[in-house]
Every structure is written in C-alpha cells, then in structure tokens.
C-alpha cells in the first residue's frame, strides 16, 4: 500500500492531486487506527480509576469510622460493629508467602527439567498436563481440597509435623496443634498447587528463549548442567522469571473460592500455621451476601480496597526489582 502511494505519481500525469488524496486517505486510516488503539488503552485506565474511586467511596464510611485503626485492629465483630482488617491481611500475606515458598522452587525445577533434562518424547505430555492444571476452575481445587486433601492432611501430615517440631522451642509454636486439617497451612498448600502451573509454564517458555549458542559455549568450557542453569539460563531469563512469579503471587493473593473451603474462616491471628485463619477475599466472599448495616458493608468494601493496595504494592515492588536488575546489568 505504501508503495502504491509513491509509485502512482510516476505513472500518471495527474499525479499531484491523486497522490495528495491517497496520502490523505492513508493519514485518515492511520489516525483512525491510532485513535482506536489509544481509546482502548485509555479505557483500561478509565476502568481502573473507576474501580479505585468506587472502592474508596464505598469504603469511606468504614475508614472514616475506624481510621487507621481499621488496618491495625484484628477485631472483626459484626455484633458490636467493630471491624478491623489485620486478621484478614495477616492470613492473606502468610498463605500467599508460604504458597510461593513451596511453588517457586518446584515450578522452576519442573521448568528446568522440561527444557534441559527431559527426554523429548516426555516433554509434550508433561507440558500439556501442566497447562491443563492451570485451566482447572478454582472451585474444583476447593472441593478437592476439602473432601480429599483436608482429611489426608489431618490424619497423616499434620500429626507428623506436630510430633516432629514439638521438642524444638520456636518451631513448636509455629506448628502447634490440634490437627484440624483445615487452616493456614492447608490453604497455602492448595494455593501452591494452583499457582504452580503459572510459574512452570512461564519459566519454561522463557527458558526456551535462551540461545543454544550460549548454553553450548558454557558446556564447551566444561560447565556441568547445574552450572549452565545457574550461571547462564537463569541470569539470562531473570526478568521473565520474576514476571512469572509475580503473576503467580497475584493469583495467590486474590484467590477466593479454593481458600474459603480450606482455611477455616476464623478472623483470628494465631502463631501456629496449622490454626484456622482467613484471607481478605475469603472474608468478603463469605460475608457479603448477609452483611446487615452500612458499616458492615462498608468495612467489607474497605477490605477490598486494602487487597487492591496490597496487589499494587506487590506490582510496584516487582517493577522496582526489575529496574534494579536492569541498572546493575548496565554497569
């Protein structure tokens, strides 16, 4: 098309007019295209701002009533209408952090195996299985968690953990009984299983982008496979890896249904990881439909606002991390 605009005048005597017209037409098309894409991009911003504003407006009565105390109070009492978000924030952060602690090493391990070690005939089936895992709706994880995983954890895993850590001073607080089966740790396990496919799939994809030349050069100078992965593959793909992990963390922070089933839904802060707790999204999902009164509703919306802010902070931190990596690389 661009060639046409240039070529036409050479062939036709009435060149200037039609050339100008053709150019104008293209400019119009260009403009239209630019405006459409710009509008699409702005729409996202607009929706985002709209959500923030409506969250703030909705949360205002609660924030106004409780002030900063809303964030630092662990009381969640619908009867006296004393609401504080601390127990929910605590549960959200603990379960997500614990889930990432489990999922990141395993996810990276699977990705390294798939790209570096796995025989070719096995790569596709394992890869597809992981992608399928990512496609399972969260409610299924919740039901499976409650009916299959929780009884197993309660009768097998938790008694063993409690017995194992009982003689060790600090750890026996962290893993104190009784074994409910349900609780923060079980929720973190389920979350880890849920975010695993995201981390695996993305790390596998970015590992595949490492130029073979680089790896062969490393092997050529006598590196072991582990050294190649550690010193070539991971440094080369750092940015992508962090992106994948953050995506997983984002999902873990906001996950609702599966967590609600297995976390125990108790607005309390206990030192033990085996104790029941709650998360922000679980509290909202559980209580929204039966929330009587303006303060109650507003407090639930304020919880939503806090989750929004936490997600934003996580995103900002990952950006910062990336920027630091870029700047050290530049040096």
């Amino acid at each position: 098309m661009a060639n046409y605009a240039i070529d036409v005048p050479n062939q036709s005597p009435s060149a200037p007019a039609s050339r100008a017209e053709a150019l104008r037409r293209f400019r119009f098309g260009d403009q239209l295209f630019r405006r459409t894409t710009k509008a699409s991009a702005l729409l996202v911003l607009l929706i985002m701002v709209g959500i923030i504003i409506s969250l703030i407006v909705g949360a205002w009565p609660a924030l106004h009533t409780f002030g900063l105390g809303f964030i630092f109070s662990a009381s969640w009492n619908p009867v006296t209408e004393q609401f504080g978000a601390l127990a929910s924030i605590y549960g959200t952060i603990i379960t997500s952090a614990f889930a990432m602690l489990l999922a990141v090493p395993v996810g990276l391990g699977i990705a390294i195996f798939l790209t570096e070690i796995c025989p070719y005939w096995l790569r596709r089936p394992v890869g597809i299985a992981i992608e399928l895992l990512a496609g399972i709706p969260s409610i299924i994880y919740g039901i499976w968690g409650l009916f299959v995983f929780v009884p197993f954890v309660q009768t097998t895993v938790q008694p063993a953990i409690i017995a194992l850590f009982a003689p060790i001073p600090l750890l026996n607080q962290l893993f104190a009984g009784p074994a409910y089966g349900i609780g923060l740790m079980t929720a973190a396990f389920i979350l880890a299983i849920m975010v695993l496919p995201f981390i695996t799939a993305i790390s596998r994809d970015v590992f595949l982008t490492v130029p073979t030349v680089l790896k062969e050069a490393a092997f050529g100078i006598g590196c072991t496979r582990w050294e190649v992965v550690r010193s070539v593959v991971i440094p080369y793909t750092r940015v992508g890896l962090i992106g994948g992990i953050m995506l997983g963390l984002g999902r873990a922070l906001g996950e609702t249904m599966a967590v609600t089933f297995v976390i125990g839904n108790a607005a309390r802060i206990s030192p033990s990881l085996l104790a029941p707790g709650t998360t922000i999204s679980a509290t909202i999902a559980n209580e929204f439909s039966e929330a009587f009164g303006a303060t109650y509703l507003s407090s639930l919306i304020a919880l939503g606002l806090i989750l929004f802010v936490i997600t934003f902070i996580v995103l900002a931190m990952s950006r910062l991390l990336l920027m630091r990596i870029e700047s050290t690389r530049a040096k």
């Binding site: 009492n77 009784p178 125990g264 029941p276 559980n286 209580e287 039966e290 929330a291 009587f292």
Partner: protein, 341 residues
C-alpha cells in the same frame, strides 16, 4: 382499603378454579434468605401449576433481601432475622413468618450415635466460648451419667458465611448464657472466640463428619439426610428432647403471636415440655403501602395458597409449617396492615 374476608375467599377460590384459563400471568418478585430458597421455589412451582402466576425469587441472602425491599425493587423481601418494630416502621414494612426450622448440634464423637449424648444450653455456650475443651469435661459428664465420654479435644465448627442458622444459634446461646451474650452476641455472623468456620450447612456437616471430636450446628435436613450423630438438648422446661418436626412446631405453638410486637418473635428457648429450644422461623417483609398494589395482592395470594396447600412440600424438604392458629393471625394482619387496594 380492606378486603372483606368473604370476598377475598371468593377471589381466591376464583383464582384457583379458573387457573387453567387465566390470561393475566402476573409475576411476583422476591429476594432474600437462602435458608428459605428451596421451599419458596418449590411452592412457586406448585403454585404456578394452579394459578399460572410465577414467582421470581432471588436467593441473595437476608441482608440483600432487606436492602431490596427497602429500595422497592421487589414485591417481598425474605429474612431469617426478624426486623425490630422500629426498623419496620422506619421503612413502612410488615413482616410475617412463613416456615420454621431448627438448628441441631451435630457431633462426631467415637462411640456415640444419634442422640447418644445430651447437652444443655449453658454447656453448649461454654463449648462455643472455648471454656469447655474436652468431651470428658465434668460439665458434660454430669449431664450424661453412664455414657462413656472419650478424653478428646472438642473441635468447634461454625458457619463462616452470614446465616440465619447462626442467628438462631447465637440467639439461643445468648439467652441461656449471659457471658455468651456479652462476649459474642446475636447476629447472622459473629466473632467466634474459637473454632473453624465452614461455608454453608454442607460445609459444616462435612467438617463435623471428617473431624473426630467435632461439634457443629446445621439445619435439621442435613442431620436427617446425612444420618449424622447429634446431641439431644435439655429445654427450658428441663426436659430432654430429640430434634423433630413436632418439637420445632411446639416452640411456635406456645407463642402468642397476637401479643407479639409485629411478629418480632425469636423462637429460641421457648417454654413447653416438647419444645426443641433452638428453633427459628424465617420471615417475609412487605410494604404496608406498596407501590405496586396488584403485585402485592398476588404475593399474598401466593403465601395464602402456600400456607394451606404447601404442607407436604415443606415436609419433603424438612421444613415445618406454622400452626394453623398462627396462620389465621397472619392472614388477619395482612387484612389490617397491607393495603392491596
């Protein structure tokens, strides 16, 4: 403004007899209580067959039901928690009960079957306050002479979602224990000092079934359908009672609804030898001066039909109908307080 009883009866007879050829199929809209959803939908299904009028009921929870009727977007709201007369007056609302249900303490104690253990209100309150933590605690042993109670931790299970069942449960515990009233209180959701929260009746039932030493409260239907072990209760008259439809009904029969203030009656801990102490009714809210009078009239016709013809459906779904004396009073209230003309 009032409809003459005879005329209304005639109207009703008319409506049912010409149902098949009825041309104007009005739609009644309602929203609220999830506890009442199964019965309202089944009644509506049966009512549509005889009247041609359909009910569009949205199971959005009691809180949502109250908000919707206040906003005038539905013909009736449904709530598991009765509104106080002040709240009713503030929004020009009339409330009346529809069906009765009960909350049952389901237990999972090795060696103890259905009704194999007896509890009283104070003991139950202390369990839910975390003051009694073992099944062989002296307070429980005293109520169960001859029963072999294990040295087992009590795992308290409660509802995580806001629920009418929680309202009935906390209302009972607050009536029998001042400490519970002071520390926890009465609501559809409360701050529990101990225990794990499960979603819905099925969640509580499942948690109790899976956890040795667990106790949790569920609606009657879940106990009978899942053949769960439960505790018998000692009621206000000091009698040991088994949960049953008759025992729930007994708790409503003793109430003089006529003397009640706008049906603001909570059926927990009622007197009577046969009374199950943890019973409760679910309520309908309608405007006294509705905007859409025709729709309100249709809704009342629906409830009238249900009171008189919905007994079998209620029984199948493990709900309990109100005693006929109460129904008469409710219908008199409609005449007096809801302007459908």
């Amino acid at each position: 403004m009032k409809i003459n009883i005879a005329m209304r009866a005639a109207l009703f007879a008319c409506a049912t007899s010409i149902a098949a050829v009825s041309v104007h199929a009005a739609e009644i809209t309602g929203a609220g209580s999830t506890f009442g959803t199964p019965i309202y939908s089944k009644w509506a299904e049966a009512y549509k067959k005889v009247s041609g009028n359909s009910l569009n009921y949205q199971s959005i929870g009691s809180g949502g039901g109250i908000a919707q009727i206040n906003a005038n977007t539905v013909t009736f709201g449904a709530s598991d928690m009765p509104l106080t007369p002040t709240d009713l007056a503030a929004h020009d609302l009339v409330q009346f009960p529809t069906v009765i249900g009960g909350a049952i303490p389901a237990v999972n104690i090795p060696g103890i079957g259905a009704g194999g253990i007896t509890l009283d209100g104070v003991t139950l309150a202390h369990i839910y306050l975390g003051k009694i933590t073992k099944w062989n605690a002296p307070a429980i042993a005293k109520l169960n002479p001859g029963v072999k109670l294990p040295d087992l931790d009590i795992v308290v299970v409660h509802r995580a979602d806001g629920s009418g069942t929680t309202f009935i449960w906390t209302s009972y515990l607050s009536k029998v224990s001042p400490t519970f009233k002071k520390n926890v209180g009465v609501n559809t959701a409360v701050q529990w000092p101990v225990g794990i929260g499960a979603k819905g009746n099925e969640g509580v039932a499942n948690n109790v079934a899976n956890t040795k030493g667990a106790i949790g409260y569920v609606e009657y239907a879940y106990v009978t359908q899942n053949h769960m072990a439960y505790a018998k209760m000692i009621n206000k008259d000091g009698k040991v009672v088994e949960p049953s439809a008759a025992a729930f009904q007994a708790s409503a029969a003793g109430v003089d609804w006529a003397k009640s203030d706008h049906y603001y009656v909570i059926l927990t801990n009622q007197a009577g030898a046969a009374t199950w102490p943890i019973s409760g009714a679910t309520f309908i809210l309608m405007h006294g001066k509705p905007k859409d009078k025709a729709a309100s009239a249709e809704a009342l016709k629906f409830f009238d039909w249900s009171y008189h013809n919905g007994g079998q459906i209620a029984k199948d779904l493990f709900y309990v109908m109100l005693p006929s004396s109460t129904v008469k009073q409710i219908e008199a209230t409609w005449q007096k307080e809801i302007a459908t003309k």
